[in-house]
Amino acid sequence: MNDTFLISIVTFTYFLAAFVFLISIVFNKKSVDKWALIITIAGLILQTSAIIMRWIHSYQLGIGHAPLSNFYESLVFFSWSIIFVYLIIRKRYWNNLFGVLSAFFAFLILAYASLSGNVNCAIQPLIPALQSNWLISHVISSFLAYACFTIAFGTSVLCLLKIKMKPNMLPDAPFLDEVTYKMISIGFVLLTLGIITGAAWADRAWGRYWGWDPKETWSLITWLIYGAFLHARLARGWRGVKMSLVSIIGFIAVIFTYLGVNYVLAGLHSYL
């Protein structure tokens, strides 16, 4: 059995988890939520095994490296990070909707990775630029940050919906606002760490820690937007609609940092 097959099972598992979370909301049953949680955890365990399997497999091919080195691998790790972050915050910010959101985002990303024709899932050897000890810490901190921002994006969209349309099934706006803030503050720290590890790596690879390469610049743009978010909230007391909008703009910057730079702009960071 190879890891890409396992990943396609995981894709289905996350879809199922999102569906069961949705059922638990519609019927308002806590026991159903338990089942959704079990399915999600099973998905994460399966996905973790797939990642480890791929890692081992790369060594068997004689080109051993952590499976964090191309677009496919980054998508798989991105979805892993979302579920991982969700399971961590779940206890403190319990709401089935977050389960639906996280599992659905994770499903979408994996579905794109497995089904889209332009994502190559083969294990490739590492080009010289990627042969660095900074690879693992840089990728992990960046993607955990992306995952936090993804969840914050979800909660801020819900917050906007709650304020504008006032549906009953959504939790209170201040609660959603609080979760958005918490996710962004953790994501901000992780993004800072991702930029720092990237700078340390760039210093060894190119002799400069910062060179205004499009990827570097877009990570700074993202950092500035979320930095503005935190200042607006902590020092100016912004809440609700305004904060949700900043969070959504920040997430657009995240997506552009992750994908846009590679597909739209030219730069040194062409391997994602």
């Binding site: 080009i127 660095s132 800072t192 060894r204 060179g211 610049t217 020092a235 702009l265």
Partner: protein, 443 residues
């Protein structure tokens, strides 16, 4: 005027504005490629657009006067705001006065007062348990028959934000030092040759080093798939023709000499040399290997003709590397000119004047592309990076918690007052406190 300026720079509104303005303007430099030669831009834009873009220095916008101004404004903003916070932070982190001030029970964020009919020893025991589980081991003081407990934890987490803001200033200062005193450029050195000139990036001319860098050897390895696996350059630092230092650089493994960092960046083929062409005398069957270099005539053994090569191409008509041979025979007015290919196909063998020519081998001469940089601002930036993470950890994982408790009154009717303040997660703290105080009141 000064008051107005102070007000402007001490406002967080300015910070938010600068953050978002920097973010929006930074997008430009990712769309318009930076640091190309001016001629390229001239051909890309109409004259009026070109001069407008040039006025705002968009072609190197991150070092332009206006971008630098924005960063300076941000720095002033951070300095003023941080200084404004210093007295408050010092007050918060300086050790608590031992004297208890009853006003905390009226002014704190979290306040609670209730009565208990339990025994004093029980109340005290419970009070200690509550404080211990919420904050930490309490200190007990008795004053005028009133018992006070107080505890404090995580005082230094208040420093977190100051650390973060100072670190941003350090990073910006490091960047400024690097821009003024440092340089970054590239030198291409052919194997076996040396150079002391670095071509600076951004069209800033060249920089002469006070020593020579010699490329002793360059090697490139490939995976079976054809992807590059490793580039490696052996370098020697020479001073007045004498060897001073040497090292090997690979991608991600730079070599450092006198504060200068040498990084493996690119490579290319500088030329080819040491050609070997096999000539076979079709009459006798004798084979001779001719060692040739470009445009150097040699005599053809077993005849009175001479032979030279005039050109090399890496791929001639899809049949691989080829050299252009020139055969000169005495008495013939015209030279014979023909392509000579490597072994493998009959077509590759060129029969001329009773000889068959085959290209045997040649050696490639590489040049290595090394990025050379010097940045005295780097240590400051690293300190800034460490400090910013320390600051985040302090303010994210630690909470400044303080609690005061007062037990007054007499037997059978004690009054208990609790005051507390926390730097974050107030709601959780209040819920916990609520749950714990039940122990004292409930019989």
């Amino acid at each position: 005027m000064i008051k107005k300026l102070h007000k402007l720079f001490s406002s967080v509104k300015l910070t938010i504005f600068l953050f978002l303005f920097l973010a929006v303007t930074s997008i430009m430099g990712t769309i318009i490629q930076q640091g190309l030669p001016m001629e390229r831009y001239k051909s890309l834009y109409s004259p009026s657009v070109f001069s407008a873009l040039k006025f705002f220095n968009i072609f190197d916008m991150y070092h332009s006067w206006w971008f630098t101004t924005l960063l300076t404004l941000l720095s002033i903003n951070i300095i003023v705001c941080t200084f404004k916070q210093v007295p408050r932070i010092i007050r918060l982190i300086s050790p608590e006065k031992k004297e208890i001030d009853d006003t905390v029970f009226k002014s704190s964020q979290i306040r609670k007062t209730f009565q208990s009919q339990k025994k004093l020893s029980d109340i005290e025991r419970h009070a200690e348990i509550i404080i211990k589980s919420l904050v930490g081991t309490p200190v007990k003081t008795v004053k005028n028959d009133t018992i006070y407990f107080l505890a404090e934890r995580g005082r230094y987490s208040r420093l977190g934000m100051i650390f973060v803001h100072i670190s941003i200033l350090l990073i910006l200062a490091g960047g400024l030092i690097g821009t003024i005193l440092g340089f970054h450029g590239q030198m291409n050195i052919v194997e076996g040759e040396k150079s002391d000139t670095v071509t600076l990036f951004g069209g800033e001319g060249a920089k002469k080093l006070d020593f020579d860098v010699r490329c002793d050897d360059f090697t490139v390895e490939f995976y079976e798939t054809g992807m590059p696996k490793e580039y490696k350059t052996d370098l020697t630092i020479m001073n007045d023709g004498k060897k001073v230092d040497s090292g090997t650089i690979r991608v991600n493994h730079p070599f450092i000499y006198k504060g200068l960092k040498f990084c493996q960046a690119t490579y290319g083929i500088a030329g080819v040399s040491d050609f070997k062409v096999v000539t076979k005398n079709n009459g006798t069957g004798d084979e001779t290997v001719l060692k040739l270099n470009m445009m150097k005539k040699v005599s053809l053994p077993g005849s009175n003709a001479s032979f030279a090569i005039a050109r090399f191409v890496t791929d001639h008509g899809g049949m691989g590397p080829a050299v252009l041979g020139v055969l000169l025979e005495p008495g013939k007015a015209q030279h014979d000119i023909f392509w000579i290919f490597q072994n493998g196909h009959n077509i590759n063998q060129q029969q001329k004047s009773g000889f068959t020519f085959t290209l045997d081998s040649f050696s490639r001469l590489y040049y290595t592309g090394i990025q050379v940089s010097k940045d005295p601002g780097v240590p400051l930036v690293w300190i800034g990076f460490c400090l910013i993470m320390m600051g985040f950890i302090l303010s994210l994982f630690f909470t400044h918690k303080r609690i005061w408790m007062k037990i007054s009154g007499s037997q059978d009717k004690y009054e208990i007052s609790i005051a507390a303040s926390v730097s974050k997660n107030r709601k959780t703290f209040e819920e916990k406190l609520e749950g714990l105080t039940g122990k004292i009141t409930v019989e």
